[in-house]
Symmetry: C2
Subunit: 222 residues, 2 copies
């Protein structure tokens, strides 16, 4: 019995590692996707698109491991919640990865034409979104509900950036219709980053639930 | 033991019912959100936004029931997969509900000004997205992998609508900058509908996995 408990702990540690590995990759891709835009670097954008297969593979590994643990270990209480949270995090990370691919695709479109304006808010917004992913995973690994809750504030900031960027670009397009083709991809990128922030917040909500056994989803003020 | 097996079957049936109840609500909201746009019906849009709380509540009920079943029943094989798939479907449905809210919010914006053009492709696209949600849930309840696979084709059609609508609106904006404020919400709506289709496809992929114990996620050709 002690042996099997030890085995279980090892498997849980493996789940931790897989999530951190996937998280590290996804975070790096968010950072790269913004560099690809700022430097019109099509090669870097293509690299991100190619690496998505690896992220997908990691999600499947996480999923398999979680299902195996559920089927063979009959985990209870915090362990059960740790595993089901792990499954959800895999899904959220995979979707964040897809959003980095979306950004990379817009980067390839943008590279065909001069940038509409110097990028100021977009890289800041991207950095914030990346930090949110980092913090959410950190909170998961440390089982730290306090850290997880710090994301509510970040999410409000991300929304503010989205509004700022959208309003500015709408204004530019309204004044000069010839800017539409260059403005639209930037507008979409702000929305992709916002969704990355949303997924990070989902992870944080799941972490609070995991730690406290208390649902705060849809009621983030608690 | 027979009694507890019976109890378990009842709980599984309850999970089925909760998912269908949530699905029915979400489907109705997709249909309503498009009516709200076509008829500039702000009241209907607000109704959708208000009803989102109920959808959130249903997701939590589904989640709680799944966790309880995992903790107390030690389900194996297909039952285990049915329950973990149920959890995932709850999450996908909740996000589809959020996207209907997004559409409703755009409907309120659009109602302030005359429609840019008669809506032709958008209602068709919405109907298709709604059918996809319906089919995916039907496939879940009937444990029908064949029906689930029929969504791959639908997803390609949804993407085509998205491209059609986006190109047309970009063209209109490029020719006349004064259309930007009326065109952008329509462009976003096409993207929300595409994401609804994506979530339905996620559900269908999970159903194939549930039925066949085979992962087809990220490899939809199998």
């Amino acid at each position: 019995m002690i042996e099997s408990r030890e085995h279980f702990q090892k498997e849980l540690a493996k789940l931790n590692d897989l999530i951190l590995k996937m998280g590290g990759m996804i975070e790096a891709n968010i950072a790269k996707s913004i560099k690809a835009i700022a430097q019109a670097d099509v090669r870097m954008a293509q690299e991100i698109i190619r690496s998505d297969d690896e992220a997908d593979q990691l999600e499947l590994e996480i999923d398999d491991l979680c299902l195996e643990l559920l089927a063979t270990q009959q985990p209870m209480a915090i362990d059960l919640r740790f595993i089901t949270t792990g499954m959800r995090i895999g899904t959220d990370l995979e979707r964040i990865g897809d959003l980095s691919v979306d950004i990379a695709e817009r980067a390839i479109e943008l590279a065909k034409q001069p940038l509409l304006k110097p990028l100021i808010d977009t890289p800041k917004m991207a950095e914030l979104a990346q930090q949110m992913v980092h913090k959410a995973l950190d909170a998961f690994v440390k089982r730290d509900a306090y850290l997880a809750r710090s994301l509510w504030e970040d999410e409000a900031k991300v929304d503010k950036y989205r509004d700022l960027i959208t309003e500015e670009l709408e204004d530019i397009m309204r004044k000069d219709a010839s800017t539409v083709t260059r403005a639209l991809p930037l507008m979409l990128i702000a929305r992709y980053l916002e969704r990355i922030g949303d997924h990070a917040t989902n992870i944080a909500e799941d972490v609070v639930y995991m730690v406290e056994g208390k649902v705060i989803k849809h009621n983030p003020k608690s």
